[in-house]
């Protein structure tokens, strides 16, 4: 339909341009007007015939089972003409190419090495899991020694979902935050890890109930997140689909090709296990733009592969959902992080809860930017010890767009596989509105960028918060059919119907993080969106 409209506009423009050529022949000619009108009518009829013809062809194609994404028209679509070429490995696989998005070119990318690192303490952080009560029921006592996979706590409203120890060792401390909420359950890890032995069901001959109850009991269920709202998955629901993104496009993100290398069996088993949970498909989003994509991804089984290419946020699972099977009102889908799929797969194959994952240490303030192998919930101080070069630095669990600020005695969040360091930007800048002192990433061409310059970014706001003034900026960087600014205004106005209509269910914070980055008015979009999601969830 959209292509049809574009063509119609082209035709009308052609008529409009041809008008003056004819107009100059007669001074006050009414016969000329009739000629022009007749020409318009003829062209409109031709246009309509073409449109109808194309629609008939595409309807037939759909009936015959041809993929919708293949263009059956006689004209090439705009995308086919102008979009960048998809690399050979993904050619002909219906790759979605996004022209919208934004790449922050920051210094401090992790190299492709993997180091083993000694981390003494790990933590389970109940606040990582959205949708639970702030004070869960803890079933172990301080001083107990636990094995990896032992149940540590559960949420009282949802006792089936067990949260288990990420490592074996001694449970040493319970840290509380505001309003006595439990924020950290800290473990002193054993040198030699002990694993609780689970009897995993055989994935070739089992059923949905068996898989589900095994995942609930072993803690694997806690790795599933449910959209809308990005909360802990509800065991009572059958999701429409399950989505996994195999690449992270966020700034300085870890190279997941390294994480999956040699773990193809874990990946396939994990995807197969997830297949038991959904009535639809398990979709794996692959990076069409990555020439050196891991063979494990390209050959992954038990999933429907979807190729995507483009700048950030092309790797966000939310964007991939939007372009695969969007979430409507009443729909539920689950999302799983890639490294967590490996953990689940390993659990089904080996029967142990091994949360080993790759974490990228990135950012300009580290001496070595590299990948390290550790476990879920590792202590930040241990991860970065001796690596930080700047006292006035901010350390994040996660990337610069969505991460959380952490101190050395805090822990990596369970969803994150990246620690980022940034210089604090608490400086004044003279005449910053006209003369920036050094280069910085920006959507705006008023900051010059030469070639492949990478920027050393800091945490300065570069301005003050203002009302929404500029328009179209968010749409330029978000490859979704969503109007973020209007959605934000609907949230600020507590307009429930408008929020629902404008697609609040399709978004979580990480999807609009890039919009928050480019925002000229320095609005806290992620916070506004979370308020809106909470409000909508309350109303339901």
């Amino acid at each position: 339909m959209k292509n049809g409209l574009i063509r119609l506009t082209l035709i009308i423009t052609a008529v409009a341009i041809s008008l003056p050529l004819q107009a100059q022949t007669g001074q006050y000619g009414s016969s000329l007007l009739i000629t022009v009108l007749a020409a318009i009518v003829v062209l409109l009829i031709l246009g309509a015939v073409t449109l109808v013809g194309e629609n008939v062809v595409s309807m037939e194609a759909q009936k015959a089972g041809v993929d919708e994404e293949v263009n059956m028209g006689i004209f090439p679509s705009v995308n086919e003409l102008f979009a960048p070429k998809v690399p050979a490995h993904a050619a002909g696989k219906g790759a979605k190419v996004f022209t919208k998005g934004f790449e922050l070119d920051l210094v401090g990318d992790a190299d492709n090495q993997i180091q083993d690192i000694h981390v003494k303490t790990f933590a389970l952080q109940p606040t990582d899991y959205r949708g639970n009560a702030p004070i869960p029921k803890v079933v172990v006592n301080e001083g107990d020694s636990v094995k990896a996979g032992d149940v540590i706590y559960y949420d009282k409203s949802n006792p089936d979902v067990k949260y288990v120890a990420p490592v074996s060792g001694e449970y040493i401390k319970l840290n509380r935050g505001a309003k006595r909420a439990i924020i950290e359950l800290v473990f002193l890890a054993d040198k030699e890890q002990q694993y609780k032995k689970f009897a995993a069901p055989d994935l070739d001959k089992t059923n949905r109930e068996a898989v589900k109850s095994f995942m609930l009991e072993s803690g694997a269920w806690t790795l599933l997140r449910q959209r809308p709202f990005n909360v802990v998955a509800d065991p009572k629901l059958t999701p429409k689909n399950i989505f996994v993104s195999s690449f992270d496009s966020a700034p300085l993100s870890p190279n997941l090709n390294l994480a999956v290398a040699g773990r193809g069996d874990d990946l396939n088993a994990g995807l197969e296990a997830l297949g038991y949970l959904t009535s639809g498909n398990v979709y794996l989003g692959l990076n069409a733009g990555d020439e050196s994509i891991a063979a494990e991804f390209a050959n992954a089984e038990n999933c429907v592969k979807k190729y995507f290419m483009g700048k950030h946020p092309a790797g966000n699972v939310g964007v991939q959902i939007h372009h695969t099977a969007p979430i409507g009102s009443g729909d539920t889908v689950f999302t799983v992080n890639l490294q967590d799929v490996l953990t689940i797969g390993n659990l089904f194959l080996e029967g142990v809860w091994d949360t080993t994952k790759l974490v990228a240490l990135t950012g300009s303030e580290f001496k070595n930017q590299t990948h390290v192998r550790t476990k879920s919930g590792a202590n930040i101080g241990d991860l970065i010890s001796g690596n930080l070069t700047n006292d006035n630095a901010r350390v994040l669990s996660g990337d610069v767009l969505t991460g959380k600020k952490k101190t050395a005695d805090q822990f990596l969040n369970v969803w994150d596989d990246q620690v980022t360091s940034l210089e604090e930007g608490d400086y004044y800048e003279m005449f910053g509105w006209i003369l920036p002192q050094h280069g910085r990433p920006s959507l705006s061409p008023t900051f010059f960028k030469f070639g492949d310059t990478k920027f050393k970014a800091d945490t300065n706001m570069h301005g003050e918060r203002r009302a929404f003034v500029m328009s179209g900026q968010y749409e330029d960087v978000l490859p979704m059919d969503i109007y973020p600014q209007h959605l934000m205004k609907a949230i600020l106005a507590n307009d429930f119907e408008q929020m629902e209509g404008l697609g609040i269910y399709e978004l979580v914070e990480e999807d609009i993080a890039i919009c928050e980055f480019v925002c000229t008015s320095k609005q806290p979009l992620q916070k506004i969106l979370r308020d809106g999601l909470d409000y909508v969830q309350e109303q339901m």
């Binding site: 003056p20 100059q24 409507g328 767009l401 600020k405 400086y427 003034v469 179209g472 408008q498």
Partner: protein, 450 residues
């Protein structure tokens, strides 16, 4: 740099002690230094270098060339009327000095009145001074006739800022373009100062042949004194308007004909012949013609357009669609051709009057324009259409962009509403489709799994 900033920061009178002075201080301080605020603990940790101040300043920069030319052209038009230094580059010092004497008070009044109101409201609401008026304050002088009485200007600026902007909540909240609202206020409240043949040339007591010039102390005392000492030419206080001079703008000529032309030379009243009998197309393009202060020189406006487009501050969609709308309507008018004005070829409308200026600086105001990308196409196109209709088919007032843009400002929320509605119904349709699909999928999946 930070030391200097912190020392200056010590001068802050304090928010509690004196809210107004604090607001004032804060406004100037943030103008001097980008503050040292850092991002929050969660949310994005790195922010784009662009902020609203930088955005607004770039718009102001884009119109600086128009200021320069406008200053000169005020003087030039004055001397053309009295038949002295009629060559464009003759009497440069006289023309520049004359232009400055006219333009500076307009600029000062527009900004002092507007900013004072802005500061007062900011202090009252207890938040920082927002940058919106930077652009309005720079635009307003450019769209005024050079002889506008300053008290009228002050009233209209006050009206535009208070009723047009602060009443809606300040920067980012207004529905109507502040600069245009200011002009529209003058247009309806004091029409003789801003329309007709005689508003566009400064410093004449009348436009009939032989009317004397109207010089003040600045010309006869201050500048003549300086120029005499330097041995340059001086202002001639006894000069009079030459024979056959009208001061009419091209649009007035196109609509009403050239009443000053020698009898018998022009059969038709109005139309392109009437315009070219006074101004050549090249003259109109380069801008040495009477008109509002900043709108006449097209090449410099095009420079402004290029700055705005290359910095992606103004929307190319609005500019392009406004151009298409103008072109489309102009062609239809050419094709109908029932009045002399309608037969003026559409492409001459680009450089008669203020089409380019309105397109570059007025229609693209992001706050009052449509805020959806699809909406911008409609918004711009309709401005082009309505503007041409007002310009050509309106017997009283031969310029349409101000009214067209204000008109479409009012309709912009409606256009956005329709675009958003389309988005909402698209989503609804998709949801219905997916529900229908998932029912059929449910059975096949169960088979697959077991």
């Amino acid at each position: 740099m930070s030391k200097l900033a912190e020392n200056i920061k010590k001068l802050d009178p304090g928010k509690k002690e004196s809210p107004f002075l604090h607001t004032l201080f804060d406004g100037f301080f943030t103008f001097l230094f980008t503050p040292n605020h850092t991002t929050d603990e969660s949310g994005v940790h790195v922010r784009d270098g662009m902020d609203l101040k930088r955005t607004m300043i770039h718009v102001v920069l884009a119109m600086q060339a128009c200021y320069l030319f406008g200053t000169y052209n005020i003087g030039h038009q004055h001397f053309v009327a009295i038949g002295e230094y009629t060559g464009f580059l003759e009497g440069i010092h006289l023309k520049l000095a004359y232009g400055l004497v006219k333009l500076l008070p307009i600029f000062i009044v527009a900004n002092v009145v507007g900013l004072a109101i802005e500061f007062w409201f900011a202090a009252k609401k207890g938040h920082g001074i927002e940058e919106g008026y930077l652009v309005s304050g720079a635009l307003i002088p450019l769209i005024m006739p050079p002889d506008i009485p300053l008290w009228i200007l002050a009233i209209s600026v006050a009206f535009a800022v208070i009723i047009g902007k602060e009443a809606f909540g300040g920067t980012g909240m207004n529905i109507l373009n502040v600069a245009l609202l200011c002009r529209a206020f003058i247009f309806f409240a004091y029409p003789t100062t801003i329309s007709g043949d005689e508003a566009w040339v400064a410093g004449l007591e009348g436009f009939a042949a032989g009317s004397p010039v109207d010089y003040s102390w600045w010309q006869t005392g201050f500048f003549n004194g300086i120029f005499e000492n330097l041995g340059w030419a001086t202002y001639n206080a006894s000069a009079v308007v030459v024979d056959g001079y009208s001061g009419a703008t091209p649009l007035i000529l196109a609509a009403n004909g050239n009443s000053f032309a020698a009898e018998g030379t022009l059969a038709a009243a109005g139309g392109w012949e009437a315009v070219t009998s006074v101004y050549s197309p090249l003259q109109m393009f380069w801008g040495a013609i009477p008109g509002s202060i900043g709108e006449s020189c097209k090449p410099l406006i095009i420079v402004g357009i290029l700055i705005l487009l290359s910095s992606k501050i103004a929307s190319w969609r609005i500019m392009l669609s406004m151009f298409l709308g103008m072109m489309f309507t102009g062609m239809i008018m050419n094709a109908m051709g029932t009045s002399p004005f309608m037969t003026v070829p559409w492409y001459y409308h680009i450089y008669m009057g203020s089409f380019l200026f309105a397109m570059a600086f007025m229609a693209t105001d992001p706050v009052t324009a449509s805020s959806t990308n699809t909406g911008k196409w409609f918004y711009g196109f309709f401005i082009g259409m309505v503007g041409m209709i007002v310009r050509v088919w309106n017997p009283a007032y031969p310029e349409g962009w101000m009214l067209a843009i204000l008109f479409m400002n009012v309709f912009a929320p409606l256009i956005d509403h329709m675009v958003l509605d389309a988005n909402i119904s698209r989503r609804l349709k998709r949801a219905k489709k997916s529900v229908a699909e998932s029912v059929s999928v449910e059975q096949t999946m169960v088979e697959k799994v077991h």
